[in-house]
Amino acid sequence: MNQNRNINEKLISKVSEIFGQVSLVVGYCRGNSPLKVSPCLIDEKKDISNLIFNKLCINNLATYAYKLSKKVEGNIGMVLKPCDSKAIIQLCAEGLIEREKFRMITVGCSGIIDYKKILKEIGRQRIISLDIGKDNIEVETIDGKKSLSTKNFYAEKCYWCDISDNPLESDVFIENDDKLEVEKKDKYADIKDLENLSIEEIYSYWQEELGRCIRCYACRNVCPMEVCQDQCIVHLDYPNWESQMATAEENKFFQMIRVMHLAGRCVECGECERVCPQNISIFKLMKKMNQVIDELFGFSAGIDISQKTPLLTYKTIEENIEEEKLT
């Protein structure tokens, strides 16, 4: 926990330093459970001491970027993990927000703990205290204490992360003495498993998964790249893209709208899957589209601020596209 205090102090002092240049800081503060942190907006100097940063800061605060950029006059400071900064880069690359308006306060990341995994392990019990160490997580619930191995409880995206220590773009970088030490996993392992099945099996897999969807639209609302929420075609009466029925087929089509909208734009923060109340593995759908875009056009979103999304541009001769002849 010493490490944590250290990084918190660094964060607070850096934010106080730049507070004159920004009128609002978006960061993390203590949540209502030991398991969670809560996003907070800070517009007064006295509140800066509430800021924290630890291994539970899983939320992607870049989600607020687009909406705040329309509402707030003056600059906005944002506490970001290196992976979250990809979302800001992509938004800037598409011209949806202005780079000058944002002060990116990037904190070096030592891996993020997925609280959903802990809840799965201990069941839905009231948690009294939680201490995350380098090797073990000590959880105290009303039933007693339990010790969990830290390395199994990182968020999925941490297992293939290679930018934890190296923000692609930042104004203020706060180095973390803790480093991310995890066994690397293949990003597309779960996709490959699914693709080994036959077409019919894949179809029924999604039918079952998306049949559980209650269409709360949380996945859409949390996405940092889906800036179109207020004009979403799902809510149109004419043309009627989608009925209000929550059948598997309709839910699948809703996810397809998201996939096609995020083609070549998804920054793989995994927020859609985290907020899903039904635990549907929607992130697979997004990852697959990214894999396709990467194979066809060699592009990953959120890396380069000057690069254009591949579907918004073209080449007269495409090297990787083999057109099918039907004659």
Binding site: W206, W241, E249, M260, A263, I321
Partner: protein, 145 residues
Amino acid sequence: MEKENKVKEMEKEEDVKIIAFLCNWCSYAGADAAGTARLRQPENIRIIRVPCSGRINPLFILKAFSSGADGVLVSGCHPNDCHYTDGNFYARRRLEALKEYLPFIGIDKRRFSYQWVSASEGQKWQSVVVNFVKRIKSIGKNEPK
């Protein structure tokens, strides 16, 4: 003569539904030319005319599949011949990405195809349609199992 026999054979088989999106300037005129030249084509194709292949949102195709189409065919001007200069280049990227994606949601990749047919290629249009219908028939209907 051979082609005509093929067509007759197909008509006996099960009725599959195919939605075709054709661009106004090349492929729609091409299909029209095929009709004027009285080239026989299978009747499984329902044509939707769009201003340009660049107008085709990949969601059109997915919507067609989710509403029960057995196959979707997209056809536009040849690359470099687009009436709007570059519409079909954008379309090519989108449609290729969609095509690679389809198997992942449980739709056979062969049910979807995009082709370039110009206004004078009535013959080509006929063979595209014949081959595509044949292919869809060999896969069968797109029914949930």
